[in-house]
Amino acid sequence: MTQHQNHGGHQDHGSLKSYVIGFVLSIVLTIIPLVLVMNQMLEKTALVITILVMAILQFVVQLFFFMHIREGEKPRYNVQTLILGLVIVFTIIAGSIWIMMFNKY
């Protein structure tokens, strides 16, 4: 029964606090790259890397604070599926950019 209670309680994850923290972090992580780009504060390559890192950080923030990725049931099939998906996405994007570098001239 205790287990079942927990099971039902699975839905009750997330608190106002975690959503507010996630929201504030997301806003900060949106404003920083915006300011950096609009004022051209860094040299181009550094700027691209910085704003991409900010976007990835924001993805992580939303994953933890909004989507509650940690609170799934075990075994965490959701995390496993996500990792597989991200590996595929990374391969497609990085692979496309890489292979097209040989097609420029």
Binding site: G8, Y19, G22, T30, L52, A55, Q62, F66, Y77
Partner: protein
Amino acid sequence: MMANHHDHSHGHDHHEEHEQLKVLGFWIFVVTDCILFGTLFATYAVMMHSFAGGPTGKELFELPGIIASTFILLTSSFTSGLAVLAMNKGKVKELIAWLAVTAVLGLAFVVLEVNEFTHLMHEGATMATSGFWSAFFTLVGTHGLHVSVGLFWMVALMMQLKRRGINAVTRRKVTNLSLYWHFLDVVWIFLFTVVYLMGVM
């Protein structure tokens, strides 16, 4: 609450378990959708500098509108989270109200995007202009289409919640919808960064 749970514990738990499985199923769909966007991002990355003598993104993008869209969608992602919190507290009216706020913000986002697209087409940037604009409209348009579909879903769910209240089934639907909405916000963050911020650099 505990006793209540006990009464119909067997059938109820079975039901809950089944709904849980559907949430996982929906999550798997979201991941595959992620791969769809991955392929569109890859296409965009390849076409990024193929302007074919036509207008560039830097010339035509208007950042203020895009910044507004970004914060509107971010806020709607937050309010869809608040809807889930209201649901967990069992407050159906509050839940519907937050979903309504989310839907209005989503609609504002779609309207801004349609305006942007019309503006771009007026300036002579259409699907057929260049590789860059084909990739741009496909990528951004697919995201906009997802948001629009989400709006219809949201309205339908609000009607269902009004009629049936919060039960295992509507609970699962709200959970899935908010997952979907957070996911669309995440995709937009990358669109904003890769297409717009890197586009105007």
